[in-house]
Symmetry: C2
Subunit: 78 residues, 2 copies
């Protein structure tokens, strides 16, 4: 078994209202110095050692990411 992390983030040119809401909340709470927040998703997969990188890429691209508005990255951890 291997652990795989897939990070999915909104593309830079896409507005992120959730992130902007957090920036606004921080301002109201009196926390200074946070210029920007972007919110995305993190998936942790437990995969069999037989699963190759191409399959992981396909899962990330076709099932976990909306490639119109999001970028993804796949990394094996431990």
């Amino acid at each position: 078994m291997a652990r795989v992390v897939v990070d999915v983030m909104p593309k830079a040119e896409i507005l992120d209202p959730q992130g902007q809401a957090i920036v606004g909340a921080l301002g109201r709470l009196g926390v200074a110095g946070i210029a920007d927040v972007r919110q995305g998703k993190r998936f942790e997969l437990e995969v069999d050692d037989s699963v190759d990188d191409a399959t992981l890429e396909r899962i990330a691209e076709e099932l976990l990411t909306n490639t119109v508005i999001e970028n993804f990255s796949v990394s094996r951890v431990s």
Copy 2:
């Protein structure tokens, strides 16, 4: 400016229906070898260099995480 990543994941003992839905979808799509999927959140913050680790920890714990059901980790990148 520094970039900070906050990862927020459901605690191990908490059911994750979104992750289970993905496991089910993979099975129906004929992708074998994925034993488990957990879905969490990833926040990318652009913070001023004056923001210290204690402040980041407080933001992650009080604003970004529901500590009843989620764990978080804070890391500075680049």
